[in-house]
Each structure stands twice: as structure tokens, then as C-alpha cells.
């Protein structure tokens, strides 16, 4: 029977053979290679089977420990949400940071986009001209080197525009131009130069009355324009003269709104491109009526400038003799500009428009 052969092998493997039987079997193995091969196979099989058995037993034990442990822990079992949390904490952290980032990113970019808008709505720029400080400092140094004995006249720190109100030496300009002035000089294109002083001021409407103080002043010639008492209409052609630089500059446009900055009803909005230095300039209509005084513009928006309505200027002039001891302003009564072409009007007008230089 073949199984006897296997029994023999098993006994050999288990080491149960007595010495001479073992020797005989080993001799047989030497000669019978097929038997040796079988023996090897059988040994592997048996070993595997036994180890497998042990392993199963061990597994069984471990499983028993595991269930035992689980029952022990069941009272203090971690709740479901905690397991869920542990498993997905990383993902959730990433998701949370992405959402936070996008929220703040959006907020930030929205704010960035808003900023220029804010600037557009909020800023009113007064059009007085700050003269170049650096240049001034430099020339002062050079002059200092060249001529130490005689101190040079200090150049003006601010300039604006002003125009004559009457032949007897009254002028008007924006009060922000002459604010904090020690002395004020006016000069026109024909070279006439006078020292003036501020005699009356309306802070609310940003207007200041100036008077020529020079002893040798003989009075202006006859003023060519008149002052309009009523309100002008939307869309009227208007123009101004001013000193945004050293020379007189003409600017033309139309009356684009009967109210000023942020609905201010004391001012007009006009579509004339203006620059610092234009403040205090006259605003005239086609017929040569003075309808306003240039005061400022809106920052970041070209062609939106503002002028105080002439009615407030007239009110100020009428208050002048009551508030001061000065002689009343004799306003011009005849308009010699009406019907003239624009260059003709300007030719007549420009002698009455002055650059106002403020020293402090």
C-alpha cells in the first residue's frame, strides 16, 4: 500500500525511527531520487499545514482579544462624529482654508476695486497754485551764494486769479487763495502791478474782496462787464480767464449744472478744463455778463469744475459798507462786451483779470 510509504516518511520526519531503520531509509533516499523529491514535498506540505494551524490558532486568539477589548471599550466608545472627524480632518482643513482664502480674497479685491470710486466721489480740489517748492529752494540757495548782502524778494508761495469789481480798486478772488497771507500782489498781462489787501471775506462762499493799497493808484479804466443778478440757464456757453501758469489762459465750455459739488446750490458746475491757479477767475457768459467766480473742481473727473454764483458775490458786495468803513463798491452799469466776437471780448477783458500772488 502506498500510504505505508508515506507513513514511513512521516515517521522519518518526526524522528521516530530507530537508528538502523533510519540508516536504511537514508540509504534508500540516496539512491531513490524520486523518493527524496517526494520527501521534500511532503515536508513542506506538513510544515506549512502545521504552521498554518498555529497561525489560525493565533489569529483566533488575537480576534478573541480584539472582541474582548472592544467590549471593554464599548462603554467608552468614541462617538461616530469623532471617527468621522479624525478620518476627514485633513480634507476639511484644506476645504476650510480654501474657503477662508476665497472669502478674504474676494473682500480684498472688491475693496481694491472700490477705492478709485471712493476717490472720485469724495474729493474737492481748490484750484490755487502751490508754487514749486524745490525750485524755489534751489534758486534761493543760488541767490544766497551769488549775493549775500542783499536779500532777494521772497517769491510768492501761492497764486490764484482775481478780477476787478469796480474802477475804484476793488477786486475779488477766492478766499482760499489769500488765506493766511502776509502780503498780496496782483499783476495783469499789461504789466500793471499793485499791492492789495484783503478787506472783506465770506468764508462760506469762498469769496474775498481785495482793495488796491498803492498810493499812486489812479483807478482802473472803465470795466467792460456787468454782474448778472439772476441765475443763468443750463447749457449756456461760458468762458473764463485765469493764471494756471505765468501767462493768462482762456478756457471755454458750457454751464453743465446749476448746482455744484454734491448738490451745492450756491455754485454752478461748468465743463471747462481748469487747473490750479484758476481759482478766483471770472466766469462770463456769451454776452459778457459775469455769472460766477471759479472756485474748484472734482478730483479725478475732468470737465467738472465749480464756480460760485454771482448772486452771492453781489450779496457780499452789498454787505461791505455795512461791515466796514470803506466806501461802497460802485459796480459797472454798462456792458461793452455784448455783441463782440470772443477775441474782441478777451482783448477788452484781460486787463481786468489779475494774477494774485500771495506771500507768507
Amino acid at each position: 500500500m502506498e500510504y505505508l510509504m508515506y507513513e514511513q516518511m512521516e515517521r522519518y520526519l518526526a524522528g521516530k525511527m530507530v537508528a538502523d531503520e533510519k540508516a536504511a531509509f537514508e540509504a534508500l533516499l540516496q539512491t531513490d531520487l524520486r523518493l527524496a523529491e517526494r520527501l521534500k514535498e511532503h515536508r513542506t506540505l506538513l510544515n506549512t499545514m502545521q504552521q498554518y494551524g498555529q497561525r489560525q490558532e493565533l489569529r483566533g486568539k488575537l480576534n478573541a482579544f480584539h472582541t474582548e477589548m472592544e467590549t471593554e471599550n464599548s462603554s467608552q466608545q468614541t462617538p461616530k462624529w469623532q471617527i468621522f472627524w479624525k478620518r476627514h480632518a485633513q480634507t476639511m482643513a484644506v476645504a476650510a482654508s480654501v474657503s477662508l482664502l476665497s472669502v478674504f480674497g474676494t473682500l480684498w479685491s472688491v475693496q481694491q476695486m472700490k477705492e478709485p470710486v471712493k476717490q472720485q466721489t469724495a474729493h474737492y480740489v481748490e484750484l490755487r497754485r502751490e508754487l514749486d517748492k524745490l525750485k524755489r529752494a534751489q534758486t534761493a540757495i543760488i541767490k544766497d551764494i551769488n549775493n549775500t548782502t542783499k536779500p532777494a524778494p521772497r517769491p510768492a508761495s501761492v497764486s490764484g486769479t482775481g478780477f476787478a469789481l469796480s474802477a475804484n480798486g476793488y477786486l475779488v478772488t477766492s478766499s482760499h487763495v489769500v488765506e493766511g497771507a502776509d502780503s498780496i500782489m496782483i499783476e495783469n498781462t499789461s504789466g500793471a502791478k499793485y499791492k492789495v489787501s484783503e478787506v472783506y471775506r465770506d468764508q462760506v462762499h469762498d469769496l474775498s474782496i481785495l482793495k488796491v493799497e498803492d498810493a499812486g493808484f489812479a483807478g482802473f479804466s472803465k470795466l467792460p462787464y456787468t454782474f448778472k443778478t439772476t441765475e443763468s440757464d443750463l447749457g449756456e456757453m461760458v468762458y473764463t480767464l485765469g493764471y494756471p501758469r505765468e501767462d493768462i489762459v482762456f478756457g471755454e465750455g458750457s454751464l453743465s449744472s446749476t448746482s455744484g459739488f454734491q448738490g451745492d446750490t450756491t455754485a454752478y458746475q461748468i465743463s471747462i478744463p481748469l487747473n490750479p491757479g484758476n481759482s478766483g477767475g471770472p466766469l462770463l457768459d456769451d454776452k459778457g455778463n459775469l455769472i460766477g467766480v471759479i472756485s474748484g473742481k472734482q478730483a479725478g473727473q475732468e470737465g467738472a469744475a465749480f464756480a460760485i454764483k454771482s448772486a452771492y458775490l453781489l450779496q457780499l458786495i452789498s454787505e461791505l459798507p455795512l461791515a466796514t468803513t470803506l466806501s461802497p463798491v460802485s459796480l459797472p452799469k454798462a456792458n461793452t462786451l455784448a455783441g463782440n466776437s470772443r477775441p474782441q471780448q478777451l482783448k477788452k477783458l484781460k486787463d481786468f483779470v489779475f494774477v494774485v500772488k500771495v506771500y507768507n
Partner: protein, 190 residues
């Protein structure tokens, strides 16, 4: 549970070496939370944690049993290292290459212990399949004789064979079948 008994690693190893199941149970319960946490935080499930941990414990157990353990660190670190390696391999099999492991512990580079364990696992897997394919009563017969080392006479009585020769003959036939099943499958996977 008598905690005081297995306070140190040495006590545990000694306990396991002398076949004390309580030492093994203590060890098992002591370190499972650590491995469980490791597996769960590296995209594993509770069941996977259990499997990996048991394999790790088996590696340790067999090392202790065969006296080939040269422990240069804590049991905890050893178990962690084994389980870490096993889990990396498992992840690779699943096609998920963990570029970065969320490590809670230090670990050793185990070059020889784990491959041996993997080879054994494979062999035992084949054996288990072969045994299951064998069917009854062959399976129980072989298990009783070779694994539980029962007396041939007892087996004969229990299975209702007329005499031990019949039983031995039956056992032989079963063994032949098992041998065929096992080696075909085993060689195929080598």
C-alpha cells in the same frame, strides 16, 4: 486585568515566550489604539487597522517564539515600524501611493522581518484556499491529525471508520489531494 504583571517590555516578552496568553492579550490591547490611529489617519478603515495590527503582532509573536528577536527599541516602536511597512505595502497594492505618511512615532527600517512575514502570509493563504477546496470530511480529518495532533484511534472512532487502516487510507487520499491543490496553487503564485 492584572496590569502590574506586565508593566515592562521584558515582562511581556518573557510572558509570551512561556506561552502566557495573558501577556499576549495585554500586549495586544496596549498598542492597538496607536496602530488604529495611524491607519485611520492614513486613509484606512477600522477593519484594515485590525488586520494590519494583527499581522504586526504575529510577526512580533513569532520572532519572540523563535528567539530571533533582537529588540533594540521599545516593543511599541517595533510594532509601529512593522505595521507601518505593512500598511505602505497595502496602500501600494490598492494603487494609492502615499507620498507622505502621517507619522505619530519614530520607526525603524525593517529590512528582513517583513518580507519573511509576507512570504508566510502568502503560503498560508494558499494553504487556506487548498484546505477549503478540499471539503469535508478531509479538512477536519487532516486538521485533527496534523494540526491538533490527535490520536489515529480517536479519529477512527469519531469519524466512524471500521478500523485505523481505513482511516489511514482515507487520510492518505485526502493528503494526496491537498498536496496537489496546494502545490499547483503555490507554484503558480511563485
Amino acid at each position: 486585568m492584572k496590569k502590574g504583571l506586565y508593566e515592562t517590555d521584558e515582562a511581556i516578552i518573557e510572558g509570551i515566550r512561556f506561552g502566557d496568553d495573558r501577556a499576549l492579550a495585554h500586549l495586544y490591547k496596549l498598542h492597538f489604539p496607536m496602530i488604529s490611529h495611524f491607519i485611520l489617519s492614513n486613509s484606512g478603515t477600522d477593519d484594515e487597522a485590525k488586520d494590519i495590527y494583527q499581522e504586526g503582532v504575529i510577526v512580533f509573536y513569532e520572532k519572540v517564539k523563535s528567539d530571533s528577536l533582537e529588540l533594540t527599541c521599545q516593543i511599541k516602536t517595533y510594532l509601529y515600524s512593522v505595521c507601518r511597512r505593512l500598511w505602505l505595502k497595502k496602500l501600494a497594492e490598492k494603487g494609492r501611493f502615499a507620498t507622505k505618511m502621517d507619522d505619530a512615532e519614530n520607526y525603524l527600517m525593517l529590512e528582513d522581518d517583513v518580507p519573511q512575514q509576507e512570504e508566510n502570509e502568502r503560503r498560508f493563504g494558499v494553504m487556506e484556499d487548498a484546505m477549503n477546496q478540499l471539503g469535508e470530511p478531509c479538512k477536519t480529518l487532516l486538521e485533527d491529525y496534523y494540526i491538533r495532533m490527535q490520536n489515529m484511534q480517536d479519529i477512527t472512532d469519531r469519524f466512524g471508520y471500521t478500523n485505523t487502516d481505513t482511516a489511514k487510507n482515507q487520510k492518505y487520499k485526502c493528503l494526496q489531494r491537498l498536496k496537489k491543490l496546494f502545490f499547483t496553487a503555490y507554484q503558480a503564485t511563485v
